[in-house]
Symmetry: D3
Subunit: 241 residues, 6 copies
């Protein structure tokens, strides 16, 4: 495909992706993940034990919380702590990230341990939820290694890897990894969460401007799955460092 995008990328090309492990000193796993100018700090926190409703089951638990710093965006947003309530978008993305990671977890092998993934967006330029998932997988893998090193596991809790990417239709063209400038005027917006072996964990497609056909959906899925495969490779490289 020809390079028609404002940032010079071809339609099927990821932005520059950087995955920096161990960005924090205290967390059991931590990653600064960057998709272009989008910058998310992910911290994986391990605690012994599980929520009350799961106690005694022998099963572990993985959950996630997503949030944005007030000036991650072009204009400042009020803090949700100051407003005294979590917004719908924050809730929705927190749930998506948690669900996506749980899809590759064997709770039994994890044992009665809990891992919380905190995804805090330091700077937003589109794709914050997909960067969060992609980075969180790496932080999760490090937290699992930390548990393994302590001899706290009953087996291998990671039954796969997870990556996520946004795709969309802009100016009638299907494109991969939308920055804010494209995202804000996309006609269709699709987030794909996939395993390292190319199976689907979550597909969320939304008509922003007008309804879309099965054919467009198929093109978007092709592009998204190819993007996830690229991300999977970058995750493996980061974990190998």
């Amino acid at each position: 495909m020809p390079a028609t995008r404002a940032d010079g990328r071809s339609a099927d090309q990821l932005r520059e992706v950087r995955i920096t492990r161990n960005w924090l000193d205290h967390a059991e796993g931590s990653v600064l993940v960057e998709f272009g100018a989008t910058r998310v700090l992910v911290a994986a926190s391990v605690t012994e034990g599980v929520p009350r409703w799961r106690k005694g089951s022998g099963l572990g638990w993985v959950t996630a919380e997503y949030a944005m710093l007030p000036r991650a965006t072009h204009s400042r947003s009020d803090r949700e702590s100051v407003k005294g309530r979590i917004g719908g978008r924050t809730h929705e993305i927190s749930r998506l990230v948690g669900r996506s990671l749980r899809a590759v977890i064997d709770y039994k092998a994890l044992g009665e341990n809990t891992i919380v993934l905190d995804c805090d967006v330091l700077q937003a330029d589109g794709g914050t939820r997909t960067a969060s998932i992609t980075g969180a997988y790496v932080a999760l893998a490090d937290a699992v290694s930390w548990l393994r090193a302590r001899g706290s596991l009953a087996g291998e809790p990671l039954i796969g890897s997870v990556a996520a990417i946004s795709v969309g239709v802009i100016d009638g063209e299907v494109r991969l990894d939308l920055p804010y400038e494209e995202d804000s005027r996309a006609e269709v917006d699709l987030n794909v969460v996939a395993t390292g072996t190319g199976e689907l964990i979550e597909v969320q497609g939304t008509a922003e401007g007008k309804p879309f056909s099965r054919d467009v959906l198929n093109q978007l899925l092709d592009l998204g799955l190819a993007g996830c495969a690229d991300l999977t490779r970058l995750q493996q490289e980061a974990l190998a460092r």
Copy 2:
């Protein structure tokens, strides 16, 4: 497909769907929509004017709120009003319903009027979000007619119809319109929101048990789009009454 389901339905069959219009006396549009034992009361409220951020634009607004009565479910849930906060699931579904209806609205034709769709689940047996969207379209159509009768419209605000249905993989079989018993043990869960002409508005698929293939996704989409077509017909019949 053979009838293998607990309620005797075939895999591609809807539950009994009832759409009762004008269930309330005050609302500009109201529908009691039932998908089997799932029962949602939808009220469409019209107010002149739009939210502050939209004033003077000449454009209208449509939004939705979803909630469940405390004893809609098998065991009683605490009220969100008593807890003092909206849960993530409530937020997520409210946003989905609003987005789905806005996809068929011409804001210009609506003029500076706001329509709020309140979807209150009186009884839940799976598919409450898809029943909400399907019923809300009918209530919205009635609210639009009410505005038309008052001469408050600048054109035809409804540029299409919307219906929604859940599909899933249960015991390895793709099935339409999941009741709670199936939904709670589905391996894959997909909600399809489509227009009356079969185009997609929203696709949300989630691996509940394990990741799924493109092939499974395609089967689910086929089934879901067929279900939406059936619902479209039932909506038209209700509106014709």
Copy 3:
């Protein structure tokens, strides 16, 4: 008395009252109660055990929560869940309903079980609190029967029945069972909660326009107690069906 009211009723006449039992599938007791256009869905939820402060006492507990759907009224109200707080009126009525039902409960016979009565107003046309109490008694009776059938009772927890009705002074005339149109311009407003044997459980009278005399109070009480007697009969008929 002559029929001087907008809806053709005589001053001492109830609106049409309908009590539909088992309106919900899951609740241990449920009633759709209608006083004219006022429509309240009452669900009785039984749980084993009692609140912490009552544990080990051998005594049961009964409580109630009242709420209105946003479009129960002529114009839409914001949801209390969205506002993040319960309003004073909601609090006040929830407390009244709970107190009224507890007046006919023998906690010892109930044993350490809790029954929660959820009264959700689907449509409001005056008298929502009295319809709630009247319907809640029937739902409570069904919940008690459910407990009895399970052999969970230590005796008969219901030591009486409860009904409630509003009375008021409109255009200088005392009237029974006020619809919204009358309630909103009543000079005096009185709610009477009484047992099936005609004794008083709660009397709440308020001068809306101007203070009232003992004589007026007496006329209102006569009318209210007669209305409660009528409702008691309708409750017994509903429970006999």
Copy 4:
């Protein structure tokens, strides 16, 4: 009636009532009102203007807020500010106090001014709501005088006076002005709010132990109205000082 009460009073006797005006320096009216050991500080705050929904009507507004200090009671209660929400009892009493005072206000004569009555219970020994109403009337009268002195009134806003007292059935005997020790074990509890001319503003009677007859209600009303007459005299004396 013979003196049978723990504090030596006869059944129809008030506790010692003290009404101290101008307890605060800043408020336009302020009263420390004491019914025995119950001590309520009432401040009347005048502001020019009325709430938004009343602007331009030419009418004034009067409202009230009631609260208890955490250690007003025998054991300490958590602050509602710390809990982040107002309890049902607080809401209910705030509404009662406001309603009671509004019954003697001519909004037109008040003009577009607002008077807020803050009733803060410094020490509680039963009857806090009736002491609040009784004291608030005096603070209100002072605030009205303050407005009159400034020439801000369009006439006489006070069309009467208000007093309130609790009565109840304890050990089968009807008694006036219940201290906590009696209130907590009363079989029936009635609050009477009346004008200085003996008309009723509010009657709230509750069966605490068991339902009560019309005859008992009548005895309670006799006693309560006599108590209100005594309080009216004490209010007039305080205002004359």
Copy 5:
């Protein structure tokens, strides 16, 4: 120093200080403390046991809550309970009062008992936080005596006394114990919390108008420590009565 202040005091002179013990009947210690027109009611509440995080340690706990009545100030403030959140200033002062008192407590001698100091400002005219601390020490001493009389102590929990005073620079002059009129236009504002033996517990100095020198700080500290010594004497006198 010459008397240059609006209220006729010399620069190093306290306002009239009144410490009235046992102002409440129920609290284990209670004080109405007045610094001129500033009037704070302090209640000390003793409960057996300590917060969860301290259980089994053998150590006691002391904490404080500060609040203002809505009309303590010149114009009425909204209640924090109604706003549903505690403001920053309230939080800050509550923490300061608690910290100050804990500085003279031997937790071991207190045993597993908790003392809560509630400081409620009935009227504010500057110095509410320093009056709160000064009064709270006296209420605390009474609560400790109450515990001692019950034989609940493992030794002497009070290892010193605490007093606090505000000092500031107004019109270029350092002054002691600022009333609101001075506080609101102070160039520098310093609160000193000191023990009865003249050692420092807390020093909080703020440039309100412009930064200040070490020399000014030293003058303020001299004045503040002298004021604390005066207050210590008044506390001892009050406790001796």
Copy 6:
């Protein structure tokens, strides 16, 4: 002084301080400030206009908000947004940062513009409030330059510079710039906020273990002011880059 500290520093030595400007793309000023392992991201957001209470005054406004990411600390803390309320410590530090910066602002020269300083602690190792103030000054200076470049200023709003440092008594020795390990066991803890010319803006000293003398306070102030002078130099170097 000899090097007696765990990290090899002498008692009067700062940790390694790094001030990285323009860490964010969108904010009008942004700094990543590091005091050793303490890492705070400061964003300065400029908006035209001022809060309502200041409109039409011709004066600008500067305020600050401080918060910590959940895993900034050794063990994870719950988010204040999830808890639905801001804690006392957060409130207190937000107020301190805002006050400190306002001390060097000429509101008139700023004109009716608002600058919000968001200080988000990415990693905490003691001194987060002093690092916040020190970094916020640099971000503020950049935001002021941004306003100057746009021609939006009426003069020079920065009338000085601000830096802050913590000092304390550990093991009987006065030390500069405490990391968490020292801070958590300090006997006395003092935060000094000073201008670039060595005058005081804020002094907050607290006896953590036991009361302290004037002499100790003086040693702490000497050390703190010397530390602020070092920080001032580092701020100037950063701004010169």
